[in-house]
Structures are given as C-alpha cells and as structure tokens.
Subunit: 530 residues, 2 copies
C-alpha cells in the first residue's frame, strides 16, 4: 500500500491518527469504492433480493443479503435501499431482521399484494408489500417464509404461520415469486439446491402453495441457487421465458456463476426450446442475479418483469477476501436483456447497461479518432479523472487485414493503466476470432482463485468491432458484439487507472473511434475523488 501513499498524498488527510492497518483499510475502502455501482455503506453484501418497481411511488426497492456486523458472510439479514433511477440509491435500515428463533434471512423476492390476496392487509393498497424469503433455521433446515409490510416496503412483520413451504430439507432456498395475470395466480420459482432442481409452485394467497413441476439441466455444480423465471418478448413478438440458474461452486471457471435457459412456460411447466447450456458471461464475477419485478399496479394487471436484472459482482471463491476494507461487494448496474441471435445463428440473450446515458457529463466527454499502424503502434489518452466512473465506447476497424488472417494476426489491445505499470486489458485476436479480458497485471489483490485471463469467441464476420466498457473504481463491465459477449470483472489496482492505451502490437492498421464519457457520481459514498 506504500505505493499508493506516495502517489496519492491527497488521500492522506483522511487518515490522520490512524494505525497502519487502519490506514490500509481506510485507503482500500476509499480507493475501491464505486461511484455509480451500489455497494453497502459498510460490511458484507451478497445476493440482491426483492427487486421491485413500485409504480405508485415511482420508486425501486432493492433488498440484499447483508451481514450488518462483519465484512464476511454470515448472520444474514435483508439490507434495504431505494432509488428513483437505479443509480442514486438511498440507504434504509435493515428491512428483514432475524427473529427470536434465530433463523437467518436468506435470499428471496418481494411482491406488492395490491389486492390483498394474502389477507395480511386492510384492503387494497399499493403499500401492501410481501417478502417471500428462505428461513435458514439453526437446525440446518431451509424453508420458505413470509414477512409483510404495510408501509410500502420499509418495515416488515413476520407471518405467524411461517413456514409456508417446508420440505424438512437443508437445501431448499431462494424463492422468486411473481403474479401471472393470465392465470390469475402467484408462481414461485425455487431451488432444491443440492438436487439441482428448480421447482415451481402456485398459490392464490401467497400462504398456500401447490407444487407444479420441476426443471433440471445444464451445469449442476454443487448447488443450484437463485433461480429466476422471467418473461421476455421474443424477436418475433411472441412471449418466451428465460430461466436463470446460479450455480455455486462448480462452474467451469471455478466457484460461482450464472447459466440460463430459453423456453416456454405454460403456467405449470418450463420447457426449454433446446438442450443447450448457456453461460451468462465469459468471466466469473456476476452471481445470483435477480430480475426487477414491475410490481403490481392497482387492479393487478401486471407483475411482469422489466427485462432488467441486477447481479452480485462477486464469486464465492474470493468474495470474502477482497481488499475493500470496511465494506465488501458491489452490484452490477441494472441490465436490460433480450433474446437475439449470435453470428452463428444461435439464440442467446444480449445485455446492456440500463440508462447509463443519463449519467454522462457531456461537457467532459472526450472523442478521439486514432489511426494505429506500423508508425503508431501505441496511442495513449489521459483519462479525465473528475470521477472514478467512465463509459468507454470503442469502435474499431481493421483497414488492411487479409481475409485469411491467422491466429495472432489482427491484434488489438486496450489498456486501462496507471503509472506503476498496472493495467487491466481487453484484447482482440482477429485471426482466431477470440477476445480477452485480463486483470493479471494489477497488484491490489492476490488470491489463487482470482483468475486473471478470460476469453471467448467474438464476431469477426466483418473487419470492425464495437465495445462498450463501464469502469468504476473496482468494477468493470464489458460489452461486445452488441451485448451478446459480456464480462463483469472486479479488479483491484494499487492506485487508480488514469490512462487509456490503445495498441496495435503487430503494427497492423486499425482505425479506432474512442469516446470517453465521464459518468456523474450517483452513490452517496466516500470515494477517492470525494
């Protein structure tokens, strides 16, 4: 951490009177704190829970798995924050507390029971919130419970009839509940984790649940977690469903990650349209995503999703060891998703960060046309460091690559670097049709599970490429191929990354349009830039 001290004297004023360890922790807490990604004020956060849009107050509610007492997992509660735009989040007191039975509050979802189907409320109201969550009992059992809120989702009371579903199982968790107007019922998607099954239940009152069917496929790993069934509009306008299933551990890259299935749901059964196993990302730091429910509007015409999710930027292999000091973990930006086709005609989802444009500080944007070639193999641009969050839009074109380019030809590197030779890198190898992300060349975090190099195939049909990168202190979100190729990556440099370096290492001609958009800080947290 000494390098950081010498390089950033202005942060030292934060540390008067602190011990060396306190200095390190304080520095890390500040250095790695995202400016537009949600992170907990302090202590440990994991899965997003109960994501819901309350139309009556024009407010998003976000709950999250939270340990209020430590920077590691355990003692799980539901933390709570609200936002009007999914960027500016207001902290609220813990919403779901551990009761006298000591049962921990594991993941789940929230609904607005506008028409009081549950009977918890005094008639219809948009303030009728119900949280459906997993109770992790002291004896190891996991069952499904309810808490209800009469104040629009701020304070909750446990249902005296809990649990509402009990299989006497130690591996039964993460209920995601939605109202389906076409069948006039609530449907729950929940994991029989160790059995690698997603089970569906139905209910008309949220208290009495009837088993519908089960689904099992893909990479099993050790545990299924946080299944989410979400309707989407297909490319032909018909309705399809995406079933997201998070796995931990046992994903191919190590630890936890998310897979998904495209298919149909008839109110009873989910039937995938093919036998393919699809991973959400080519990196390993997006877990336990939950989609944002639209909530209910009065008269209950819809509780469908917005086709946007928020995921946890973390991997259980190292999430409790990251060097962020007094707080741990962040969430992805809210991401829209839709069905599309990749270059090989395969049906996949495309993702894009939702409404990032609204944070752009246009007056501080930098646009640049860079022609790389044998006389200009490297081009460096100083980043505008008025904020830690940036959006990079990179449009590249190979003007003179042979059509039979071999692996190793058509190399393009993009580095976000600092003056200590640290950098994160995105790169392209046109000849082999692969791209990569690399966080090996950073010194802020050393962990054997913190994989450095990630790669995947990319669209090399034409001689151009189009990347969008959100970079925010310690969280990077990478989008290529119109959002088909996505990588979320936590990264930890010893000092901030202040330069953008574009390289054509082989001296090949590449024309690059660069747009750097500083993004207005939306999170009320201390960051290195105040």
């Amino acid at each position: 951490m000494n390098k950081m001290l010498s390089a950033l004297p202005f942060v030292m004023t934060l540390m008067s009177g602190a011990s060396a360890n306190q200095e390190d922790s304080l520095l890390s807490s500040v250095l790695y704190r995202p400016a537009i990604h949600f992170s907990p004020l302090k202590n440990f956060m994991n899965d997003p829970n109960g994501l819901i849009w309350d139309q009556s107050t024009q407010t998003y509610h976000m709950y999250y798995q939270y340990n209020p007492n430590a920077t590691v997992a355990g003692n799980q509660h539901w933390g709570h924050a609200t936002s009007k735009d999914l960027f500016h989040w207001e902290d609220h007191p813990v919403a779901l507390n551990i009761g006298s039975d000591g049962a921990l509050i594991f993941s789940g979802s929230a609904v607005i029971d506008v028409n009081n189907t549950s009977g918890f409320f005094n008639g219809s109201s948009n303030k009728n919130f119900v949280a459906i969550y997993t109770r992790a009992l002291l004896n190891g059992t996991q069952d499904q419970g309810l808490m209800y809120s009469t104040d629009g989702g701020y304070t909750y009371t446990p249902y005296s009839g809990n649990p509402v579903i009990d299989l006497n199982s130690t591996s039964f968790r993460d209920p995601a509940v939605q109202w389906h107007p076409e069948w006039n019922k609530w449907v729950m998607t929940v994991a029989l984790s160790r059995e690698h099954k997603v089970r569906f239940y139905e209910s008309t009152d949220l208290k009495n649940w009837t088993r519908l069917s089960e689904f099992s496929a893909g990479i099993y790993g050790v545990d299924y977690e946080c299944p989410n069934l979400t309707p989407v509009t297909d490319v032909d306008g018909s309705k399809k469903y995406i079933l997201f299933v998070s796995i931990n551990p046992g994903m191919p890259l190590g630890g936890s990650a998310t897979q998904y299935f495209i298919g149909d749901f008839n109110g009873t059964t989910f039937v995938p349209e093919d036998e393919a196993t699809r991973l959400l990302e080519f990196t390993k730091d997006n877990y336990a995503l939950q989609y944002i429910s639209q909530g209910s509007i009065l008269n209950g015409t819809s509780s469908y999703g917005s086709n946007a999710f928020i995921g946890w930027v973390g991997n259980w292999q190292y999430a409790q060891n990251t060097p962020t000091g007094s707080w741990r973990s962040a969430f992805t930006l809210a991401r829209n998703y839709s069905i599309t086709e990749n270059v090989y005609g395969q049906r996949v989802i495309a993702q894009e960060p939702l409404n990032v444009e609204t944070l752009r500080i246009d007056s501080e944007s930098i646009s640049s046309n860079v022609s790389l070639g044998s006389n200009n193999t490297e081009h460096k641009i100083e980043l505008p460091v008025v904020t830690t969050a940036l959006e990079l839009i990179i449009k590249g074109n190979y003007s003179s690559l042979p059509s039979d380019a071999a692996p190793g030809q058509g190399r393009f590197n993009l580095k976000l670097a600092n003056d200590f030779n640290e950098y994160v890198e995105a790169g392209l190898d046109w000849g082999s049709g692969n791209l990569w992300l690399n966080r090996d060349n950073l010194t802020g975090f050393d962990n054997p599970f913190f994989t450095g190099k990630f790669s995947t195939f990319t669209d090399v049909t034409n001689l151009d490429f189009n990347w969008r990168i959100i970079v925010d202190a310690s969280v990077l979100e990478f989008f290529a191929d119109d959002g088909i190729t996505v990588g979320t990556m936590a990264y930890y440099s010893s000092i901030p990354l202040t330069n953008l370096i574009l390289e054509s290492p082989n001296g090949e001609n590449i024309d690059v349009e660069v747009e750097i958009n500083p993004l207005a800080k939306s999170m009320n947290r201390t960051t290195i830039f105040g």
Copy 2:
C-alpha cells in the same frame, strides 16, 4: 532465453554454429520435449485418430492429425506410430496421404475388418484395416471417406467409391466407427459441427450407411468435434455408454475443451440418463480425445473399447503459438475412465493414467514424510533430475483444522520450482473446498489466452487429500479425488523445474506423505537430459 543459456551450459554443445533464432528454437525443442508423452518428431500435430489395439500383433496403432511441412495447422495428413505399451512409440511414415484431388485428411477412426465385411480384402485376416476419415475438399465440403490397408495398418489405399457419406455440408466431420457385436453392425458417431449435433449411422459393410438418430446437448460453443461413443461397465455391472463431445471454440475457459454425457445406447439412439452438462477437466488443455478401440479379434466377437482414451494436450487458442521450436503438441498419457460418484452423489467419470507404474524406476524413488506447521511452513525437496518425467503421489492430512474452517483456512501449496523463481503450483483451500492449479509464474510463454489460474471444488469431507501428478517437461497431468478431479496443463518454464516445495502458508499442521517416482524415458526423442 538468455537465462536458460546461463543456467544450462551443458545444452550449449547442441548449438555450435547455430544462429540466435536457431539456438532458441533448438533449445525450446529440447527443453520442452516430453520423455513419456508422445509428441511428433517435428512439425504440428493435433487430434489423435484411429486409436486401435491389434490383438494379433499385440500392437497399438495410433494415427494423428499432422502437418508434415510446418509447425502450425494445415495440410492435414494422418501421421502414424505404433506401440506395445502406449508409452514406447515407434514412428512410421505418414499413413493417410493427400491424394490428387487435394482433399485434406481430417480426423477419424480405424477398424480391423477381420471378416472382410467391406469386401476390400481377400478373405478374413487380422491385417484388414480400414480408416474412416473426413475428406476436407478444396471447395469447402466435408464428407466421409474410407481408405483400406492390407498390411495391418501401415499403408493405405483410398476407396474408389469415396465419399461414403456426403451431405454437401461444410460442417460434417470426425467419424468414430465401432463394430457392435450385439447388433451385428458397424455404428458411426459423427459431428454435424456447426449444428451442434452428434449423428449416428449404421452399416454392415462400411460403405453403405443408414442414418439412425441425432443427439444435441450441453455447451454448444461454435463447433462440435470428435464425438466418441464408448461402452463402459457401470458400478452395478450393467452396461452404460459415455458420449464424449469436443467443442471449439466457445468453452467457458476459452477455446476448446471436452464435455461428456452418461447414458444408454440401444443400437439406434443415445439417451442421456440426466440433463447434466459435464466437463472432462477443470483446465483447458485436453481436446479431441479418442478412445482406444480393442480392434476386432478373429470371429468378430468384440470391437469394444478398452475404457481408455488419449487426448490432445492443446487448446486451439494458442496451440499454434507454443514455444516448442521444431515440433508442436503432445498427447496425454492413455487414461482409463470409469463411472463413479463424487462426494455429492453425482455420477461422473474417474480417470487414471494407465500403467504408469510400469515406468517407475524404483531404485531412484524418494519417499518422505513431511510435517508442516507453524515452525515448518515450507519444506523443499530436490527432485531427482535423471529424467524429465516424474510421478508425484501426495497424501496430505490436516491434523488440527477446525470443523468450521473458513475460506482461506487449511491452505496447502505444492510448487514445482526452479532457481529463477518460476513455479507451477497446485493448491488447496480447505475452508472453501476448492483446489487450484496455477501456471502464471512461468516465463516460457506469454499469450493472452494462456489462462494461468484454474480451480474447482474438491472433496473436503475428511481432513485428508490424495493427489497424483505426472510432470513431464512441458505437460502436467493432475489427478485428485481418486481421479474425479482432473486437470491437464501444458506449461513452459525457462529452465527445468528441479525443486518440489510444500507449504503450509498459514502455519497450520499438515502431515504430508510424499512419493516421487522418476519414470523411465519411453519416447525416442531428444530431451534436455538426452
């Protein structure tokens, strides 16, 4: 390469009169040359083809994808080697040559048509070899062709009626043919690559083929390749089938790798027993495996497999860029595989290197009991460098780990190191139940797709672990959990790794039994140790 020059003066005698580039190439060719793994004498090798045991001559035949003219892929032929024991291989001239039509010889299999079902031969003979391979035509079409050999597999003649199956497809390849005595027919397993389908055909004469069924599941990636359907005996004695499917690119770790399915085959259709996608390894350097056919014994009672395969140690992301000088790529040792259950009750295959014991030089073995702890966090053992190939058997026991060990507790590191601070590492994190392999700390090869860190979950039910590692110049095969957890890893150090270092980085008490078995060189190739 200068470091190597200074460290290894004795190899310099090999290089008198060579240019600097020639020196580098020659050094690399020697330094990385495996002693017991098959590698081509020179130029580029990829998929193993036509693996078959000829009982009449007690000889294994191995063909392989081969470019005789360059150290990169292209100009594909079938190279040829034979062995009595799968370790000592004798090189033979290229067996399947490109004909006047210019069609390349892509992957496929070989059978012994003892009873002359094909009519190519003059009656029954154990010398009746038929190779079934993919013809990659100059116009881009891929179809299936035959060549036959009347001299027991050494020289082949193209069938004048080729192709035997033609779909007018550019993505139809890698036929694997076996005789199934219970149905008295040949069955072909072949890939419709870009469609992600394995198709089955049947024939009684190898010339006329009837379509049976198709199978599609798992990770699709871009192309299915080299499907292999192999019978195995299940744990209850019944017959099951394993269907191996190689994928390139698009595997989660980047590039190419192999998945498999467990199921039943009734002579017509393969039906998997569940919907799980299983990967063969947690690393990314074992591709295009083929199982070793038992051939036919006279009277044709069996052509079933031996339950052993050989894979290609390579990944298409970087296989044409590895620093091995005048030759490229190696094969895995022949590996036995069988169905078993992992610690979570999941049905998986276990693998073990076949008959490695037979190469042990007992007089040079080292056994050692090492007690690691707070007073002895590191223990170093000099490796016997009489040969580049070693077998390490590591039995560890945590004598005092708390039952609720947290991630980061119960750390054990094993390093194969040299005096230039280079090492490959295997490690265990008992608290999180993960193990890892790491090749980041080597300087012999730098490539953005050459992933450094690999990890997966491991059995931490009891406080002990049991690893077996084969290390051979530039190829490492790692087996844990009785062969359930397997990683093949190419690695490139600047000088040989001559020390074994065992570490308990937290000072926890770990008792380790170490057995180091030098393995007798079996390959007639120049290695750094002659």
